[in-house]
């Protein structure tokens, strides 16, 4: 058990020492500053020479926030891919793993330690960045999305899912290759979600099933739909829902959160992929 925490702690120490944390902090400050500035400028917008109504302003802020958070979720997921892809393969290739794995430590402790460290890193960043962003937006616009906690939970689930998959790749293949594969899968599943939405919009069952299948194979897009739902104010939700099934094709919109069964599926999926990672690395000769 100690070994697990030692390995996990090392992941965070490496990120700090290699200045990954510093880079994330600086870039996040830039992004937050830009969005806050942009949202503050909405005050100056005029419609037919008149200032915008409160409802109009709120709608614009909410949609801008969804776009910013969509980018945030992509950056978070891709950052998770980048840190997880070489986490094990890099240490095996360099030889660092030889000295570590000849200590009294099981392969499971090593893999789970890596996972815990990476999850702590990604979640720590996600919570800090999202909270600052949401608080800053509220400060300048007075707008707060309806379900901020749920939003964070869904986005973190999305990042942890893709992180776990990438770590499983890292037990067997080079970081560069595993990272590219995971990033492409992440993109495919996002596309699959849109394709499925198009199927729903036009009532085509086969195409809808494609979207459902991709959501089950890698739960990132399914969880993103939960995140976007958490950010929709009631007025937008009502307007979009009125459009009927056509709204389903919009990747920046969801009429309802994913069902509880899907959330449970996502948790089980993450646990299962982590188990596969452990099993895979157990069989790996270094």
């Amino acid at each position: 058990m100690t070994a697990t925490f030692v390995v996990g702690r090392q992941v965070i120490a490496e990120a700090a020492r290699r200045k990954l944390l510093l880079a994330l902090v600086l870039l996040t400050i830039v992004v937050i500053a830009l969005t806050v500035w942009g949202i503050a400028r909405i005050e100056d917008l005029r419609s037919a020479g008149q200032p915008l109504s409160e409802a109009q302003r709120r709608t614009i802020v909410s949609q801008l926030l969804i776009l910013v958070m969509f980018m945030f979720s992509w950056v978070l997921s891709l950052a998770a891919v980048f840190v997880a892809a070489p986490a094990i393969s890099g240490e095996v290739e360099s030889g660092i793993a030889l000295a570590l794995l000849s200590r009294p430590m099981s392969r499971a402790e090593y893999v789970i330690g890596k996972w815990l460290g990476l999850v702590a890193l990604v979640l720590g960043y996600a919570i800090a960045a999202a909270v600052i962003e949401l608080v800053a937006v509220q400060a300048v616009s007075g707008y707060q999305p309806p379900h901020p906690i749920e939003f964070l939970a869904f986005v973190m689930g999305e990042a942890v899912a893709v992180l776990t998959l990438t770590l499983a790749f890292s037990t067997r293949i080079a970081g560069m290759v595993g990272g590219v594969i995971a990033a492409i899968l992440f993109g495919i599943v996002w596309m699959g979600g849109i394709v499925g939405g198009v199927g729903a919009a036009f009532g085509n069952e086969t195409i809808t099933h494609v979207g459902t299948a991709t959501k089950l194979i890698l739960p990132t897009d399914g969880l993103w739909r939960g995140a976007v739902w958490s950010l929709e104010p009631a007025v937008v939700l009502a307007a979009q829902t009125a459009l009927g099934p056509a709204a389903a094709a919009n990747p920046f919109f969801a009429t309802e959160p994913p069902p509880a069964a899907y959330v449970i599926w996502s948790v089980l999926w993450i646990a299962a992929v982590l188990a596969v990672a452990v099993w895979s690395f157990r069989g790996r000769e270094v």
Binding site: Q10, I96, L98, S102, P104, V286
Partner: protein, 300 residues
């Protein structure tokens, strides 16, 4: 299963696809410094990796420090310097050592003293606070050696421990190995450097293409000497009689070399030659170096 031997490999075979890295390798080390000697690609590193559980044998088994390969019980009692030694470049030498103290299960109160001792032993006392990323290859190898010494392990496995070291470093490593023997540790030294093995090992196994071609106490292996005989009139029968003492090679200068003749038997060789009618001009006992024996074994 516990075994009296510190290191036991029993009929270990390792194949990577069609390549046979180890071929029914058996050896047993109970004490002292054991040299595992062979040319590059002979399977030395594979054997050590199997011992510490980083690789699995295709067939066969054995034990390390009285427990199965790669088990926690065995890894608690060993220290290992890999051939490919790389450590966390973003940590300082002290931090890397502390990491290994923790993983080795040393009590936290002992770390500082242990790290000081290790740094002094491997000659890095003044670089403990430097990042490993700033270390030369030789310094990284010294650090790796230090890591293998943490907690006074009962068995220390060193895979080519001087590959990146200068002559001073090589000397230091020999001293460290001798000190390990003094305190009763078993040392398994992988090397392709004969002089290194000759200077510190009590027993050796010579391995080639995954097979042990000779094994024994170093003194015994070295005792296998040869004698050079310059003689005339040696009959065919006389030559056959001499061949009973050992393998005969013809030298370029007309002398013959009889291999594998121990010192005490040289007078017998001479009387046999005289009895067969030969006239002896010179008898030169020759002490075969490990290197000569090594090359001869690999040439077989």
């Amino acid at each position: 299963m516990a075994s009296a031997a510190a290191i036991e490999l029993a009929h270990v075979t390792k194949r990577y696809g069609k390549v046979v890295a180890l071929d029914d390798l058996s050896l047993s080390v109970t004490s002292g410094v054991f040299g595992f000697l062979g040319p590059n690609g002979a399977g030395k590193t594979t054997a050590v990796k199997i011992l510490v559980g980083l690789a699995r044998p295709t067939a066969g088994g054995g034990s390390l420090a009285g427990a199965s390969f790669g088990s926690k019980a065995s890894l608690h009692k060993i220290g290992y310097l890999p051939e490919l030694f790389r450590y966390q470049s973003w940590l300082t030498a002290r931090e890397v050592l502390a990491l290994h103290c923790e993983l080795a299960g040393l009590e936290r109160s002992r770390w500082a003293a242990e790290i000081d001792r290790i740094l002094a032993t491997v000659g890095l006392a003044d670089r403990g606070g430097s990042r490993v990323g700033t270390f030369s290859k030789g310094m990284q190898q010294r650090l790796g050696l230090g890591i293998a010494l943490i907690g006074d392990p009962a068995v220390v496995l060193l895979d080519e421990p001087t590959s990146a070291l200068d002559p001073v470093g090589r000397h230091d490593v020999r001293e460290i190995i001798r000190a390990l023997r003094e305190r009763g540790a078993v040392v398994f030294l992988n090397s392709h450097l004969l002089t290194e093995v000759e200077q510190v090992c009590d027993s050796v196994a010579i391995v080639d293409r995954g097979k042990v071609v000779a094994q024994g106490v170093l003194a015994d292996l070295l005792r296998t000497s040869s004698v050079r005989l310059r003689a005339s009139g040696l009959s065919r029968e006389g030559r056959a009689a001499l061949a009973r003492f050992g393998e005969i090679d013809d030298g370029a200068d007309g002398a013959i070399l009889i291999r594998g003749v121990e010192m005490e038997r040289i007078p017998d060789v001479v009387s046999e030659a005289v009895r067969s009618g030969a006239r002896i001009y010179a008898v030169e006992p020759q002490h075969e170096t490990l290197e000569e024996r090594f090359l001869r074994l690999l040439g077989q």
